[in-house]
């Protein structure tokens, strides 16, 4: 028996180490670092207490970054969900070759992030970019430099992220759709229910757990957006796309303020935990509403 227990720990050890080294210790270490002014190049640090936090909250650019991330999440999550659901419903047919379409819709999700950023920079280019040439062919005069336009930069990134993120979301909704018993639709049909009505009264409610899951994971991803911002807008123009992930990166690796960056990342952790908890609360009350 003793030997078996030892063996058991051998199996568990990697994950235990991983959990400690890559989750618990970093969080603790981030908290620790946030109380210091850190100079990585010279390898020295000096204790400053809560100063990093007060600096962070006083900094308008940090608050702006938090707000930008929230804006990005508020725009991209519902939009992404709606598109993914629509496509999932479309693809949820027993047609021959439907797998080909599913594969096509998934390709952006696994494509090189850098290559995609280059593609979309080209799509958004003023004058010769795809969107502008299309608009011109429709008769619109003038052209918009989307990525350099304060109003349009973030919506442009949101649009691109819906395109990129469609794959996994679509698959999740497909799984949810498949789980809806067809007898429900048959019963509704017998009662003379229209397709539209069936969608609102059967499909959507039955998809609630799936929608919740996709919603939470999309939100967390939205707060982690980095590569498109780094490659396409660098936080601009006028910091309109300076999202938290990019902001913290810049703070640590461009401005070399590791301590302050650590403080900001800890604030982000708390913020995300709150948002997730809020979404869980929503879900639970929604469930109770049904039971009652």
């Amino acid at each position: 028996m003793r030997r078996r227990n030892a063996e058991g720990w051998f199996f568990l050890a990697p994950a235990f180490i991983h959990l400690c080294v890559f989750a618990l210790i970093p969080i603790g270490f981030a908290l620790y670092l946030s109380f210091f002014k850190v100079n990585l190049i010279r390898g020295e640090q000096s204790f400053v207490g809560l100063q990093n936090y007060s600096l962070a909250f006083a900094e308008e650019s940090f608050l702006n970054a938090l707000w930008n991330s929230a804006k990005f999440a508020l725009m991209s999550v519902p939009f992404g969900l709606a598109i993914a659901l629509a496509v999932a419903i479309l693809v949820n047919q027993k047609l021959k070759g439907i797998t080909i379409f599913r594969t096509i819709y998934y390709i952006p999700a696994i494509s090189s992030g850098v290559a995609i950023a280059m593609l979309w920079i080209y799509v958004f280019l003023p004058e010769s970019g795809m969107i502008n040439t299309f608009l011109k062919s429709l008769g619109f005069s003038g052209s918009t430099d989307f990525l350099n336009n304060v109003t349009w930069a973030m919506p442009a990134l949101v649009f691109m992220s819906a395109w990129t993120g469609l794959g996994p979301r679509m698959v999740l909704f497909l799984a949810g759709l498949v789980g809806i018993p067809p007898s429900l639709y048959e019963a509704a049909d017998l009662d003379g229910c229209s397709k539209w009505h069936a969608f609102w009264r059967i499909t959507l409610p039955m998809l609630a757990p799936t929608t919740f899951f996709v919603g939470v994971t999309s939100t967390i991803s939205a707060f982690q957006v980095f590569t498109p911002v780094y490659l396409m807008t660098k936080g601009g123009p006028d910091s309109s796309t300076d999202v938290v992930g990019y902001h913290i990166y810049t703070e640590a690796w461009v401005n070399f303020n590791t301590g302050i960056a650590a403080a900001k990342s800890f604030v982000l952790l708390v913020a995300i935990a709150l948002v997730a908890a809020f979404q869980f609360r929503l879900m639970r009350s929604g469930r109770e509403g049904y039971a009652g």
Binding site: E7, G8, F11, L12, P14, A15, I17, H18, L19, V21, F22, A23, I25, P26, I27, F29, A30, L33, V38, L40, I89, N92, F101, I104, Y105, Y106, I107, P108, I110, S111, S112, V114, A115, M118, L119, W120, Y122, M130, W163, P168, V171, L172, L174, A175, K195, I220, F223, Q224, Y230, V244, G245, I248, Y249, A252, T258, A262, S265, L268, L269, A276
Partner: protein, 279 residues
């Protein structure tokens, strides 16, 4: 879903084709642009097919003195392969512990592990970087490969554990009666049955490691050590004015291997994602 009438069938097909076309347009344009000469790019419409398609752009890219794409490919393959190996082996082992062994705090630990899936990478990247810096691992492949051997990430562990739980315990019991150790049960009985799940973890990890950008950005400073993703960006930022024909050629080059791998492994993707959603 209810069966479709004739009209609906055609509407759906039209919609599917239309969306596919819209979806693939950026890719199509990049492909077309990558085989046009710079002169043609400036004069013709982006939709116009090239009059004399040329692979000169690709040749120019591959011959670039500052960014060696073959070296990048080699690096990327190395990093992706090691990560995949590590993730597949260690996630299976850890999942075995969670699925088959009883110990104090097992379920609580599993929930803590799951919640780390929700941890934003931004939070851990700074302390993790500092740790690696102290270890002198910065500017090596190590930060990008070694972590995979420590469980391979919560997602993979979760996947494997769900799969292992679906295998009935009868085989385990029979083996235990014959005096088999945990390792034997794991290696000789459960692993051979886990082909699909292992393949899923493998495909996910491989593609994820291949297209990782932030990791290489932080840890691979020398150009010779960079991956395709990062290298493409380094190459692009080295130019003064955007040479779109070259950038497009580079993008196609970097995207191609992944798309090929994905087309062959895509059913594992779907299976994997579906398994996480069902909970």
């Amino acid at each position: 879903m209810p069966r479709l009438g004739k009209v609906e069938y055609w509407l759906v097909t039209l919609a599917l084709l239309g969306i596919s076309a819209a979806f693939l347009t950026p890719f199509a344009v990049s492909l077309i642009m990558s085989v046009k000469t710079p002169a043609e790019l400036n004069t013709t419409d982006i939709w116009a097919l090239p009059q004399s398609p040329t692979i000169a752009n690709y040749q120019e890219m591959l011959a670039n003195p500052n960014v060696d794409f073959m070296q990048l490919l080699q690096n990327t393959i190395l990093i992706a392969t090691f990560s995949t190996l590590g993730a597949v082996v260690s996630s299976a082992m850890v999942a075995y512990a969670f699925a088959r062994l009883k110990f104090i705090g097992r379920d609580k630990l599993f929930i803590i592990l799951l919640s780390t899936m929700m941890l934003p990478g931004v939070v851990t990247m700074i302390p993790t970087y500092v740790i690696f810096k102290h270890l002198h691992w910065v500017n090596t492949f190590l930060p990008l490969t070694v972590p995979a051997f420590l469980g391979g990430g919560a997602f993979n562990i979760f996947l494997m554990r769900q799969f292992l739980k679906s295998i009935p315990m009868d085989l385990d019991e029979a083996a235990k009666l014959d005096g088999a150790s945990h390792w034997l049960i794991f290696w000789r009985i459960l692993m051979p049955l886990s082909g699909p799940a292992l393949a899923t973890v493998g495909v996910f990890t491989f593609i994820g490691a291949w297209r990782d950008f932030l990791g290489p950005l932080l840890y691979l400073n020398d150009v010779e050590k960079q991956t395709l993703e990062l290298g493409l960006n380094t190459y692009t930022s080295m130019q003064t004015t955007a040479p779109w024909h070259l950038i497009m050629a580079g993008s196609v080059l970097v995207m191609l291997p992944l798309i090929v791998i994905f087309i062959f492994g895509q059913r594992y993707f779907v299976k994997g994602i579906t398994m996480t959603g069902i909970k």
